[in-house]
């Protein structure tokens, strides 16, 4: 027996600021979201606007939001995502809408351009260069902007933040032995929000190519610290946090906060006082795990 589901599509006319929902029943069996959209355009409303090209999960054109999460229309089966017989289709977040499910994607490309995603090299390639596996992250990325849509920091930081796809591209070039960007590339990332990622893993979750974007960002931060680029709030946060763990086996909240904020901690005094009145005081001496001396051995020695 065939399954019928209700497609609910958010529609918006070009130039309009408001949107409305259109509902339509479709047979779901064996159909992708893209199949259903094409069927609707061909049989119900030829003005329905959406982007699509390869139908194979390669070109990255057809990303949209399906039941509240970004996906590729061509690789998403209706039967797999329907909730109580309904599939809600909306344009990607963090973009202005051009028409219906089509967004104005220029900010996405600008954010990626900002990290200069090309090989920086003024020398020829005299030897064969073996590229490490991390490069695969960047080459697997199909630039569909699903991660850009779901990134919550992107939503509140429209400038000075390259976003998840930008970080993945940067990670690819930082790992590439043929690239001579080195510290300069990492410095550029600092100005493009490397320390503003809030670790909420929406990007990794929605990536249709299963790229570990959160892991790539963590690795970039690690490399920035190793290159001596930790003299900012993000770098200090990691350093002071780690110092407490290495020393006592536990994070020391007082020194992590004081070390991160520096003299700016005076701006936090009203909040600190309100918390202290309720007994929420991080003491400088902190807590210590029993037998914590052995924990120090777990950290890389300087010459490792």
């Amino acid at each position: 027996m065939s399954t019928t589901i209700t497609l609910v599509i958010r529609r918006q006319k070009p130039g309009d600021s408001g949107s409305f929902f259109m509902e339509h029943q479709v047979e779901a069996d064996g159909k992708t979201v893209l199949d259903a959209l094409k069927e609707m355009r061909d049989t119900v409303d030829p003005s329905l606007a959406f982007r699509a090209q390869c139908k194979s999960g390669i070109c990255g054109s057809c990303a949209l939001r399906v039941n509240g999460s970004a996906r590729l229309a061509c690789s998403t089966f209706l039967s797999a995502v329907q909730i109580e017989g309904r599939v809600v289709l909306e344009p990607l977040l963090n973009f202005a809408v051009e028409e219906d499910l089509v967004v104005q994607d220029r900010p996405f490309w600008k954010a990626i351009e900002a990290i200069k995603p090309w090989l920086w090299s003024d020398k020829g390639y005299e030897h064969e260069a073996v590229v490490p596996p991390q490069v695969k992250n960047g080459t697997d990325c199909i630039l569909c902007a699903a991660c850009y849509s779901e990134c919550e920091v992107q939503a509140v930081k429209p400038s000075g933040y390259t976003g998840p796809a930008g970080f993945v591209q940067a990670h690819r070039f930082v790992a590439d032995k043929r690239d001579h960007g080195g510290k300069e590339r990492l410095k550029l990332l600092e100005t493009e929000g490397l320390w503003s990622c809030a670790h909420s893993y929406n990007c990794s979750e929605v990536c249709p190519k299963d790229i570990d974007i959160g892991g790539a960002i963590a690795d970039l931060r690690s490399q920035a610290l190793a290159a001596g680029l930790g003299r900012n709030a993000g770098g200090r946060h990691v350093a002071w946090f780690t110092r407490g763990v290495r020393r006592n086996g536990k994070m020391n909240e007082f020194w992590t906060l004081a070390g991160t904020r520096g003299w700016r901690i005076i701006f936090d005094l009203p909040t600190g006082l309100a918390m202290a009145i309720r007994g929420k005081i991080p003491w400088p001496w902190g807590k210590k795990a029993k037998s914590s001396r052995e924990v120090r051995r777990y950290f890389r020695s300087k010459n490792q």
Binding site: E152, K157, S196, C197, G214, L225, T242, Y298
Partner: protein, 289 residues
Amino acid sequence: MHRHQKQYAYFPGCNTESISSELDQSMRAIAPLVGIELVDIPEFACCGAGMVREQDAYAEIALCARDFALAERQGLPILTVCSTCQGTMNHALHILKTDPDALAAVNLRMEGSGLVLRDISAVQVIHLLDVLHEDKDSLKELALSPNPLTGLRIAPFYGCRLLRPSSESPSSGLDQTRKFEEIIESLGLLPVNYPGRTKCCGFDIAFVDQKAARALLRERFIEAEGAKADILVTSCPLCHNVLDGMQSQVRSFEEKKFPVLHLPQLIGLALGVDERKLGLNRHVTGWKR
């Protein structure tokens, strides 16, 4: 008292032992009532919280492996009340199971510590929410009716690390998950559905990019207000730090303020535990009924 008590190696986490000690207090108050016997392991170290990883990735995994070995020695699953500890430890577990190079490097660092991780496949790291959800029918029998929360519209706040990355989290299901809501319903209470429930509280960048962190935090309250919520409940002490402690920074004097409960405090109130034993007096945004 619950009919059956199950033992767990209790991993409160650094924040729960310090700024959010009322979470520890309330967990200890409700544990025997919901069938949990907490076994303290004083050697437990920090999980690394995804921060140590950025300085030294293998050190963070080694820290978690040490904690796994300590729990394994007692033959107990690890119970956390912190979503970040749960997420970090399950990430480490995932790496240890799938990356032989990482396993070898971690074993090398642990050498000589007297701790050996014998069987990775037996290690279990579980969040309180999952334990309660598994036994939600018992909550139905234990909850008082009415209780101090009856009639309130309760907004569950999952945050991020309890659910994401779903490939590493035992609480998978992500946006469709209703575990928190089902626990609230089992207590005879009313959960509200709102888009912010699985979003970011901004804690991780609260001292690094304050402008962005405050914007994220402010959005969470706007969404809760849009759903006509009366109170928020969270499964993570770090989310609680900002949702409760920094609420006044992002909400003007005239705007509604939301009491924010820890998950064990919600359970405790519904089961008739004295408010003082739950540490409700230690919240910046006061709880009044």
